[in-house]
């Protein structure tokens, strides 16, 4: 596609953003408690000590069960959080401006 665009333009290509869209054919039925108004904000730190965030809609129950932040803060020892942390170490995920997304899941919390 780039090769076909070049003859049509004087611009110099500096990069390509590829958006991959995928639609589930049979998405099933969400749980009663599911709500996309509720979101999980995950904050990750990268090797440059930057903090990057990612939003997960309609979060499942991976919250801290007790304490002041019960039901609000992501339990970093939960199975979901641990799996996410493992993935951060395994994959070199990048932000849209090509910075390292993060290597450590530092915190997560409910966001409206």
């Amino acid at each position: 596609m780039v090769a076909r665009v070049i003859p049509l333009s004087d611009a110099v290509i500096t990069g390509i953003d590829i958006a991959y869209r995928w639609t589930v054919d049979d998405p099933g039925t969400p749980a009663e408690s599911s709500s996309i108004e509720r979101k999980l904000l995950m904050l990750m730190t990268n090797e440059d000590e930057e903090i990057n965030g990612m939003i997960v809609p309609s979060p499942s129950d991976n919250w801290e069960p007790t304490g002041n932040y019960a039901g609000i803060r992501l339990d970093l020892a939960s199975a979901g959080a641990l799996a996410w942390s493992d993935m951060l170490l395994a994959l070199d995920l990048r932000t849209p401006d090509d910075r390292q997304l993060g290597t450590v899941l530092a915190a997560g919390g409910l966001a409206y």
Partner: protein, 183 residues
């Protein structure tokens, strides 16, 4: 009322960042996190302020999630209980952990000088005090009740030695010297 949710081209303040501790209701955290997300998109910031501005917002979100004052005060309470336990022998019990940690007895405004366990620092010091009183002077204490102290025994020894005519004068002088030293 002017809306502020669709601001753009904000210029982030330069470092250094001064920081403050804040007390906030945890119930407000989800709303604050959500509101701050409106300041994350690139169009909110002037192009050369984007990284800096987003990092400021992310650091505030992190601070909201990591708590602050409550954890510090909890740790101060833990430190108080550690000191009270070590110094006075106060024994604490976890009464419940859900929905929040409750430990008894509660931390009082002040602590009396009375200790609560003989293995505490104050308890051991009191033991040492009584031991010295009894050992040196023969003073009867709640813990120690030997009738004669070292001073009494030395005096008895000196009297007995002086009564003996063939005792080495040098040894006698040393005994007298010891008696003076602990007097």
């Amino acid at each position: 009322v002017p809306a502020i949710t669709h601001v753009h081209n904000l210029v982030a303040p330069d470092p250094p960042d001064t920081c403050e501790l804040a007390i906030f209701p945890v119930a407000a955290v989800p709303f604050a996190l959500g509101a701050l997300e409106y300041r994350i998109p690139r169009y909110v910031w002037a192009s050369d302020s984007y990284l800096r501005g987003v990092q400021l917002i992310r650091s505030l979100q992190m601070a909201l999630l990591c708590g602050g004052v409550k954890e510090i005060t909890d740790r101060l309470d833990n430190l108080y209980r550690l000191h009270a336990g070590a110094i006075y022998g106060t024994e604490y019990t976890v009464v419940s952990t859900d929905p929040e940690l409750v430990i008894e007895p509660p931390i009082a405004a002040y602590h009396s000088l009375d200790f609560e366990h003989e293995n505490s620092i104050m308890g051991r010091m009191e033991d040492s005090r009584q031991l010295l009183q009894n050992a040196l002077n023969g003073t009867e204490t709640p813990i120690y009740s030997r009738p004669d102290g070292i001073r009494d025994l030395l005096e008895q020894l000196l009297v007995a030695a002086e009564a003996e005519s063939n005792l080495d004068p040098e040894m006698l002088a040393k005994l007298a010297e010891i008696a003076v030293l602990i007097a």
